[in-house]
């Protein structure tokens, strides 16, 4: 793992330019261009917002008001997490020519996915902060935001390495991952809060590392409370563990990557 982090650091210039390329290429040719970076989570938020305020108002946690803003706090980091993983799962296969023909540290590619999606997240963040200010919710607690972000970065990177290498050997991972992420989304308190859940359910959700991250985002942004729960520390441990496992699997499969993609 240390070795891989060192490699990634050594190739930071390449990662930086690839992230730049990714961002430039993504919306090239579309009229709204970069605006899509926050229109996408905004739309997701509107969809769920409509469903749970108009269609199914009973399901909405009444304590969380305004609900739209509550949703936005969770959807924005979730979008980063899920898009990064989905893109990472296909990135090695998609870049077969690079792996086969150019001397290239493969771990750069999933890392670029994670970072590029993080940048998208950062683009969306000012909009979120603006809304928070409008509703008078923004407090200095938001300054602690880098803590859960770092944890999420490590976790996402670990999982991205894991799925990207595994997909090369098992193409079904790519398909499976979409469904897993869907399920994961609903198992994470994004559209609901843990307060409204039964005790058993709330306990079960504690095993989901994303639960603690979401709680941190809600605390720091939506509730404006400068608290970092113990759960977040546990999540940090899980994240480092995920990175170790991801890095190990990647290293183990590295030599077969150029042959199998």
């Amino acid at each position: 793992m240390i070795r891989q982090i060192r490699t990634l650091f050594r190739y930071r210039l390449l990662i930086q330019s690839l992230v730049g390329r990714d961002l430039k290429a993504r919306y090239r040719g579309s009229i709204l261009g970069f605006l899509w970076s926050f229109i996408n989570p905004l739309m997701l938020m509107l969809t769920y917002g409509l469903v749970f305020t108009v269609v199914l108002p009973g399901f909405r946690p009444k304590t969380e008001d305004p609900y739209f803003l509550f949703l936005f706090c969770g959807i924005l980091p979730w979008t980063w997490f899920s898009s990064a993983l989905l893109e990472a799962s296909g990135v090695l296969i998609g870049s077969g020519s690079l792996l086969k023909k150019v001397l290239f540290p493969a771990e750069v590619l999933p890392t670029v996915n994670v970072i590029a999606n993080f940048v998208h997240f950062l683009f969306g963040l000012p909009i979120l902060l603006l809304f928070l200010i409008l509703f008078g919710k923004l407090t200095p607690a938001a300054l602690l935001l880098p803590v859960p972000l770092l944890v999420q970065m490590v976790l996402t990177l670990g999982l991205a390495l894991f799925v990207s290498a595994l997909t090369v050997h098992f193409r079904d991972v790519q398909n499976l991952l979409g469904h897993i992420l869907h399920l994961w989304f609903f198992s994470t308190p994004i559209i609901y809060s843990t307060e409204g859940l039964g005790e058993n359910m709330a306990k079960a959700l504690r095993f989901n590392p994303m639960t603690h991250l979401m709680k941190a985002y809600h605390d720091l942004l939506f509730n404006g409370e400068a608290v970092l729960h113990r759960g977040l520390a546990a999540t940090a441990v899980v994240a480092v563990l995920a990175l170790a496992v991801g890095a190990f699997l990647f290293e183990r499969l590295r030599d077969t990557l150029a042959e199998e993609v």
Partner: protein, 446 residues
């Protein structure tokens, strides 16, 4: 001599083949049965490279030749570090740039300018270095007008040119070239070769994998011939190329022998215009026709009637075709075509063009095409021989199945060496060259 730039020691590369059934197993079943790791273990292996050792000294241009599938590209990938040897070791001194696939990693949606930047960084430069070389790269690729257009709008030639330009301007100490010079038009290929020549003069190390034997002879200081993953010969490029050609010629004789026994194999449908083949697919060796007139044996003979494959300029060369005509017929033409190794026609003629009137052919016979003097520069040449109808319908067409080499002390270039001499007058004084006997030849066999 100092440390060699490239040292390959007893390198073996075993590719693992995964058995069919495992390929289609899903992750789920692998996880359920706990066989994830065992599924990642190969069942079958394929040895692409078996214990190859070679050293390329600094500043040497080293050519690797061999048939398709002989392990050339695997060797190159090992040297480039893209794959690791299964056993043995590969050590390279200095920065490598590999011209293996040009423009790999270009992103179609963004401009050439941005792609140059990223590709340069990918090949190991930093941002400032790319900026310094940017103008040179664009000028070399001849893309000044298009550099800000997205790469997806480029023609494939433009794409390759840009890829080559970036790779070559990385200023590697060790340059790996894999058959990439086949892309682009003549002028650009020339330019690439010039650039590689410039590298040579500046004492950089170059490893070239190619099918162009002429290129190996012209540019390389040393060469190696790989046969089925083994080093078959290495050392002086001319000797290696000769050995390779002899081997290939032997293979051709066997191929011909096999085809003679087969009833009527056709590689192209009979009646098809062979020129069409050439235009559409480039020059490809093969044999077709229904063999009403069968060319049973093709021999290349010298003045004394001995079979040879290597000649010197000025010698006569006789192409003798032994034919067998199954049913007597009146409509027949014998033709000969002479090509360079890369498939450019030098000369072509037939008995019909030269107004020989065919009267009758029956049973066995032989045709001798006597080239009174070989007026060609050094290189490898391919022969087409054919028997066909006056309208071109082939009886038996052998394309590129026979080759010969011309060797010479004189390193003149081109294809044809016209009869010529120099004259000087006035204040010019040049000494006559030492008369040198042409190369000792004659021991060649079929």
């Amino acid at each position: 001599m100092s440390e060699p730039a490239i040292r390959v020691r007893d390198a073996t590369k075993v590719y693992r083949r995964f058995q069919h059934k495992n390929q289609f197993r899903t992750l789920k079943s692998a996880l359920l049965t706990g066989s994830l790791l065992s599924d990642l273990t190969p069942d079958q292996t394929f040895t692409a490279l078996g214990g190859v050792s070679l050293e390329v000294p600094k500043g040497c241009t080293f050519g690797v030749i061999g048939e398709n599938g002989s392990g050339k590209s695997t060797l190159l990938k090992l040297v480039a570090g893209i794959t690791k040897p299964t056993t043995g070791s590969v050590a390279v001194q200095g920065r490598i740039s590999a011209l293996i696939e040009l423009g790999a990693g270009f992103h179609p949606e963004i401009s050439g300018r941005e792609n140059v930047m990223i590709n340069g960084i990918m090949l190991g430069l930093n941002r400032r270095q790319v900026q310094e070389r940017f103008d040179q790269i664009v000028r070399f690729a001849e893309l000044e007008r298009f550099i800000d257009a997205p790469v997806k709008t480029y023609s494939s030639g433009m794409y390759m040119r840009l890829g080559f330009a970036v790779a070559i301007h990385v200023e590697p100490e060790v340059l790996l070239v894999d058959e990439v010079l086949a892309v682009g038009d003549e002028a650009f290929t020339r330019k690439c070769l010039d650039k590689i020549g410039e590298f040579r003069r500046r004492g950089r190390t170059i490893l070239i994998v190619t099918h162009s034997l002429g290129l190996v002879e012209q540019m390389c200081d040393e060469a190696a011939w790989l046969r089925q993953g083994q080093l078959a010969a290495s050392g002086d490029p001319k000797r290696v190329v000769d050995e390779y050609l002899l081997y290939v010629a032997g293979g051709e004789e066997q191929l011909l022998a096999r085809e003679r026994d087969a009833p009527a194999p056709t590689e192209a449908p009979p009646g098809r215009d062979p020129n069409e083949d050439q235009v559409l697919h480039g020059y490809r060796e093969g044999r077709w026709g229904a063999r009403e007139v069968a060319i049973e044996k093709v021999r290349l003979l010298d003045a004394r009637g001995r079979e040879r494959h290597v000649y010197t300029p000025g010698e006569p060369l006789i192409v003798q075709l032994d034919v067998d005509v199954r049913e007597p017929l009146q409509d027949f033409v014998f033709g000969i075509g002479l090509f360079t190794a890369d498939g450019v026609q030098i000369y072509g003629t037939n008995t019909h063009i030269e107004s020989y009137r065919a009267r009758r052919a029956a049973g066995r016979g032989s045709v001798r095409f006597v080239l009174e003097e070989i007026r060609l520069v050094e290189g490898t040449y391919l022969l087409d021989v054919a028997a066909h109808r006056r309208d071109g319908t082939p009886y038996d067409y052998l394309r590129g199945l026979h080759s010969f080499r011309v060797k010479s002390h004189t390193k003149d270039v081109g294809v044809h060496r016209p009869a010529h001499h120099w004259e000087f007058s006035g204040g010019l004084r040049l000494e006559q060259p030492e008369p040198r006997p042409e190369l000792e030849l004659g021991e060649g066999d079929g």
